[in-house]
Amino acid sequence: MTQEYECHNPECDLGGTADVGQFTGGRTEEIAWLRKPLDHSREPKEGVDFGEGICPNCGVKGKKAGV
């Protein structure tokens, strides 16, 4: 069964404004590169800025649903 995640970042637009957004999978490396800090202070890292469990909309690590 596909793992489901919840994004609890209050700044994230995923889901409705009053509710926790839900997703499967994770953020693509492409979008992490596109939205990396403009000062180039660091590069996106797998498991931190992209990959399974990273919210595809805001880039914050999600929580496993039901945990």
Binding site: D13, L14, G16, G26, I31
Partner: protein
């Protein structure tokens, strides 16, 4: 835009009043790839009548009662007068590797077991989602005068 509140869904809505079924405080908003963008389901449709999208990262979004503003008068489309609840915009997950062609959306009860309603988009056109695209819906619910 066309929509249908099928028999099973109406039973849930009317079960709240005058019926006595358990209160639904959460509904789920889903995206679908069938029926076609210019069609909706039959009055006796059940959940199997819609095909939920499976694009990478997709998941239905829960909407609690807190996500809806108070009812207000409005002119509906097609023309009519109604009391309308307006939901806050609901964003779906950004698309990962594989996108989809979205033809409409549907709502289910909190347990996601009963089709409450289905609707296509107001321009009757499908929406093609590619990698990193985000689709956002602003749902409304109304009762016509």
């Amino acid at each position: 835009m066309a929509y249908m509140f099928p028999d099973a869904g109406m039973q849930v809505w009317m079960g709240q009043y005058p019926g006595t079924t358990a209160r639904e405080t959460t509904i789920n908003l889903h995206l679908c790839t069938a029926p076609a963008a210019n069609a909706t389901v039959a009055h006796n449709a059940v959940l199997a009548a819609v095909t939920e999208t499976a694009y990478t990262n997709y998941l239905k979004q829960a909407m609690t009662t807190a996500n809806w503003a108070s009812a207000a008068f409005s002119e509906s489309t097609p023309p009519g007068q109604q009391q309308q609840y307006t939901g806050s915009p609901v964003a779906f997950p950004a698309v990962g590797a594989t996108g989809a062609t979205i033809t409409g959306f549907f709502m289910t009860n909190g347990a996601a077991t009963t089709l409450l309603c289905h609707a296509n988009f107001s321009d009757l056109n499908p929406v093609t989602l590619a990698t990193n695209d985000i689709i956002k819906l602003s749902p409304t619910l109304g009762l016509l005068h």
